[in-house]
Amino acid sequence: MSAPELVTVTIDERSVQVPKGTGIVETAAAAGIEIPVFCYEPRLGAAVGACRMCLVEVEGMPPKPQAGCTLFAQDGMVVKTARTSEMARVAQNATLEFILVNHPLDCPVCDKGGECPLQDLTFRYGPGNTRMTFDKRTFEKPIPISPAISIDRERCILCYRCTRFSESVSEDNQLVAVNRGAQTMIATFEDEPYTGAFTGNVTELCPVGALLPTQPRFEIRPWEFQAVPSVCGLCPVGCNIDVDQREGKIKRILSRNHPEVDEGWLCDKGRFGFSHLYAEDRITDPLRRVRSRGLEEISWEDALDDAERLLREANGRIAVALSGSETTEDAYALAKLVRKGLGAHTAMLPEEIGGGLDAFRAPLSAIRDAELIVVLGEDPVVERAPIVDLWLRKARRAGAEIVEIGPAGDVQIAPGTTARACRKLKSGELGDRLRASERAILIWSGGGAGGGSHLAALATDLGFADKPGCGAFFLPETANGRGVAEAWAAASDDEGPEPEPLGLLIVSGDEAAANPNVRALAEQAERVLAITMFHSLAVGWADLVLPGTSYLEREGTYVNVEGRIQRLRRTAIPPAPDELAWIAQLASRFEVELSPSPSLVFAELSERVFGGVTYEDLGEEARLPDRVPLEAAPAESADEPVPAKAPGGTLQLLRYRPLFSGAAVERVPELQFQRPAPEIELSVKDAKRLGVRRGEPVSVRSNGTSVQLRAAINKRLKAGVARIADDHARDLHPTVEVSK
């Protein structure tokens, strides 16, 4: 790419060179001059000039104040801000006086106070007093626009940041301005809750205290927060976050803009999910099963003795079920303990990803820059990796063509046939266009194990390895499934037979405990050692329960969907020692050398699998490692067996795991409204055949199980397929009968 043309702009008599087309607000910033703004936010799309706070005088333009945010740098432009232009100063003062006409100035009782752009700019600009003596407009306040967010309409200055987010970033169009002029207010339709994966972002965008999270409220002042830069661990994107804590307790989570990963957006699960740490059923002490009395709390000394005994008695007949939420270091430590110390090499990894994708590595932001994107798979992208959905929307707005291939796609395929559809892309019209493009992206979103290997084979065939603008992303199901798999593999090269009979099952994490396959294994195992945060299922079968910690409570690294290694920080004090601390102690009892320090474990691991990159190299804004060229064509996993076509009159059940589900979400009261409604999605054709209308109750049956659900019509869904969220599909079999 050629270097952008530079232009010289004079701002308040300072000359500055910027690329042509740079916004005047940024140009002024480059010259060290602030142009104050409220509504301007480049991530929301084109500037709207709604608030008029950025008024400047521009030589050669009509002799009236101009909205700086709507102007772009041109060569020879001479701009005067309120610092040097009397016209701009008077206009800007008047603007601020107007903005404050209806603002209640209740800063002393406003949670925004202390980090409020309106408060800050009112101190720095404006006349300092008001000539307005009439009543301010009043509203009922604060009222919830959802259980997670409240709105105070009196404080709103109508900058339209929130509605622009809703319209042109999340594209949900639920938050709108109703009425006109001074009567305008921000609202949802008929006071329905503002629902969606990304609603919480409006609380960060709001430049006043109008949209605030319902938690925390009246608890804390912004200057009392200590922000710890970390990474979200609830999905494979790994959005960068600032975790605001006070006295060791997390109070809120904000986005921390990583321009290649998240662009400063954060989903509601990541933003509001943290309060699960403080759930009532959190396990804080080790628990031992005592035959007559159930579980009893024991000391850590006793717990380690017990664990040692369980490990020795199993005599190497040990299997480890991993969640994919462990840090890479914890997974490595556990792997080293059982593989090196006990010669046990059997693990249930959270998912099979398949190798080879590192040859097509690209930042998620490459999606935005793409011209052609193919999304393969059965799961909606937003349910697996929400921020990827925002990148896709941004790409579409920029004119990219997006082809979705799946049971509910532009190209409809039957469930279980994603691998076949993937191979088909090696030829054909779409395949040819992918091959010809310099900016094409492939995404695999659920639908069978080993998708990564199919994707890598396709990307190899299409020649993506030599095209830096082309990339392939496999969206894992778990936050650190990739890291955990690498860590397990790195701990030992030895292999061993499947333990038979299984002496000890180690269940690591609440996600593994919720997995039906793990549950089945636990029934066969003679003993079970569970590491969980909550009194969940595993506690029912475990002989020894060791308290788990959360991604917010431990140091370590996660490997995200791109293959980017990012650092988690200890942002809160856990109620129990973190996993690495006691795994290291246990390891020493088996003569396995293991440091309790995540940075040293990472160093050891990095030598083996991450090319020796150090903990310090990762930093707070991790860079994407270079592509790893493929030495040979990647081996494709075998296709999943294609489920039998549903017999006449029945439907094929397509399950998906909703974003708002799982151990964390279940324990956050403010997120319950986001969980999927008890619905079954039907195709238009099937709905017509069954005579079912939207919202009508239907009964869904298979093999003696029956579930009552509401019908929803999905115009994109393939006929013969019915989609139900896991929460509601429960024990239904893959073929279901639906009737009124």
């Binding site: 169009n173 938050l175 109703v178 008929e190």
Partner: protein, 156 residues
């Protein structure tokens, strides 16, 4: 029988490259079909037909003065109180209607027969005061004309 609202709305939308362009005419038809105002279901129907959210439709409908988001009477009386009409006795005309109908501007008579509104310019500045009754303009209305108009509207 009239075509279903959704069909009519979609037919309008086909004339434009973007479905948002059809919102205003669609809302106008929906208002006609729903007794002169836009209940939430009307906004949902229009949204459904155009692939827009009902919230978006409400945002548009609430911006424009000629869409009504609360029920209106069977006859809608709108008195222009803008400059030209205001100079020619619009306030007196409005007060005469208030007296005759026994309601305040913005209110509906208890029997649901009339809604009275004071509105901004409706484009009849050459013939003040202009009163729109069910969207038909009456020109050069004076306060003295009002009892007769009301009687006529009552079918007397």
């Amino acid at each position: 029988m009239a075509r279903p609202l959704a069909d009519e709305v979609r037919a309008i939308a086909e004339q434009y490259p973007e479905s948002t362009s059809a919102v205003l005419p669609a809302l106008r038809i929906a208002q006609e079909r729903h007794g002169g105002w836009l209940p939430p279901e009307a906004l949902e129907e229009v949204g459904e037909a155009l692939g827009l959210t009902p919230a978006y439709c409400k945002g548009v409908a609430s911006f424009y003065d000629m869409f009504h988001l609360a029920p209106v009477g069977r006859r809608l009386v709108e008195v222009c109180t803008n400059i030209c009409c205001g100079l020619r006795g619009a306030q007196d005309v409005l007060q005469a209607f208030e007296r005759e109908l026994d309601v305040r501007p913005g209110e509906t008579t208890p029997d649901g027969a009339f809604t009275l509104r004071a509105v901004e310019c409706i484009g009849g500045c050459g013939w003040p005061t202009v009163v729109a009754i069910d969207d038909r303009h009456r020109l050069n209305v004076s306060a003295g004309d009002v009892p007769g108009i009301v009687q006529e509207l009552r079918g007397g």
